[in-house]
């Protein structure tokens, strides 16, 4: 068992100190660097909280779409990329909807870690601003 609090909670706590105590004390021209640091900590925090779950889900979905067998995620995605390049998801292709749904789901997961602010509020609120 790891010691509590674990990595993601430590990062959250440390980030709060930076935001509340350090950021206000910095001169304007140094704030940007600290905001970058806090952004990096947020991404790491979200990845730690999710653990391996997003990549495990991606692998399961991928196996249903391409014949990737025991291949790793990179190799499976390489196969998927080749199929997309060859037109497997063109309009009218039988697997278009399934492939698009997978791309949406995977991108949503990566966005949720890298920049959740860019995610639409509700799953279907994708209308242009």
């Amino acid at each position: 068992m790891r010691e509590q609090p674990q990595g993601h909670a430590l990062l959250a706590c440390a980030r709060q100190v930076l935001r509340d105590e350090i950021l206000p004390a910095l001169p304007a021209e140094r704030k940007h660097a600290l905001l970058m640091v806090m952004n990096a900590m947020s991404i790491a925090e979200r990845q730690l909280r999710n653990g391996d779950a997003p990549e495990a889900q991606e692998r399961v979905r991928l196996r249903g779409l391409v014949d990737s067998g025991d291949a790793g995620l990179a190799e499976g995605n390489r196969m998927l990329a080749r199929q997309l390049r060859n037109g497997a998801a063109d309009p009218g292709a039988p697997r278009r909807e399934a492939l698009l749904a997978h791309l949406r789901a995977t991108t949503r997961q990566r966005l949720a870690e890298s920049n959740p602010k860019a995610l639409p509020k509700a799953p279907d609120a994708r209308a242009p601003v």
Partner: protein, 338 residues
């Protein structure tokens, strides 16, 4: 700038400007990069066409940049000369010195311009850049002047020729990169396939800035003072620059202002159309905005790779990689219906 370089630059400028004497009143290093150095230099010139006080910027390769890019400054100077002559608002290129004996590396001097370029400041602080209708129109006019430069241009013969459709050329470039990269990007493949299926044939091919966007021009409180950052200039479809300028990913969060986050798309278009005499096909721009997201995604992966590979440890480069999912999300939004 040591005393030897100072004296050498003074002698060089005196000869180049046909002056009796030149003194550097003050000089200092501006923003530096790994590849280039920028120095400000205030000159007192006696005699010749530039007699009087002259505020300049001196650009040279950094001492550690190596030999491979030593032609860079001469090419940049040729580009500035060409677009300055075409009426584009750029820092006026003054004198190029290719003789490494003078300060040890090639350099050129250009007239110094004032203002701010930071994109995130411009989209928030509306006191900068003057009236925003005029600024958007002006940026349209400036771009049309860049696009008035057509091949062939002997002074720009270092720019690679583009055969066939510029759109297909770009798609082939990106696929080549993705094939050689260690990590596959299925959403980018989806996007490239869409770009391939909708690719326009070769039409007008002009000089393109290649990175014409908010953040790469300078303004003061009354308006535009100069177009900057010419290192991606090349021959392409002029609509590529228009799509890059208007793409959502270059509005710095101010997405309602569709012209670079600083103005209305129609104001920008009006300036471009008035200057060029060509109507912008509104429908055709969508394609190039998808391409803009694709180009930026590939560049972001390449920038992140400089950090990931260990070549250059940088938090900014590292975070740039995390922009990619947002660009992919936008590509899906823009391409899922056809």
């Amino acid at each position: 700038m040591d005393d030897i370089s100072r004296a050498a630059i003074e002698r060089f400028v005196a000869a180049a400007a046909g002056a009796d004497a030149v003194r550097i009143r003050s000089a200092g290093k501006l923003s530096g990069g790994a590849v280039q150095e920028n120095w400000f230099a205030d000159l007192d010139i006696d005699g010749g066409a530039h007699a009087g006080r002259l505020g300049c910027v001196l650009r040279c390769d950094s001492p550690t940049a190596g030999v491979a890019i030593s032609h860079g400054r001469a090419q940049e100077f040729a580009l500035l000369k060409t677009v300055f002559a075409a009426g584009v608002t750029v820092p006026e290129p003054l004198w190029l010195c290719e003789d490494p004996a003078v300060i040890g590396r090639p350099f050129f001097l250009m007239r110094r311009i004032a203002g701010t370029a930071a994109g995130h400041v411009l989209v928030k602080d509306r006191t900068r850049g003057g009236d925003r209708v005029q600024l958007a129109e002006r940026l349209g006019r400036e771009l049309a002047r860049i696009h008035s430069v057509r091949p062939p241009q002997p002074a720009l013969d270092f720019l690679p020729a583009v055969e066939g459709s510029p759109a297909r050329h770009r798609i082939a470039q990106h696929r080549g990169f993705l094939d050689a990269h260690h990590t596959p990007y299925p959403v980018l493949e989806w996007g490239l396939r869409w770009l391939e299926r909708h690719a326009p044939e070769r039409g007008l091919v002009t000089l393109c800035h290649g990175d014409y966007r908010t953040g790469n021009y300078m303004v003061d409180e009354s308006g535009l003072t100069g177009i900057l950052d010419w290192e991606f200039a090349g021959w392409s479809d002029p609509l590529e620059d228009i799509g890059w300028f208007c793409a959502k990913c270059w509005r710095f969060g101010n997405v309602a202002e569709e012209a670079g986050g600083i103005g209305k798309r129609e104001d920008f278009y009006r300036g471009y159309e008035a200057e060029s005499g060509r109507r912008i096909d509104r429908e055709a721009i969508h394609y190039w905005e998808v391409m803009a997201h694709m180009n930026w995604a590939v560049i972001a992966i390449q920038q992140a790779e400089r950090h990931v590979s260990g070549e250059e440890s940088s938090l900014l480069l590292a975070l740039t990689g995390h922009i990619v999912p947002e660009l992919e999300w936008e590509i899906l939004n823009m391409t899922e219906n056809d």
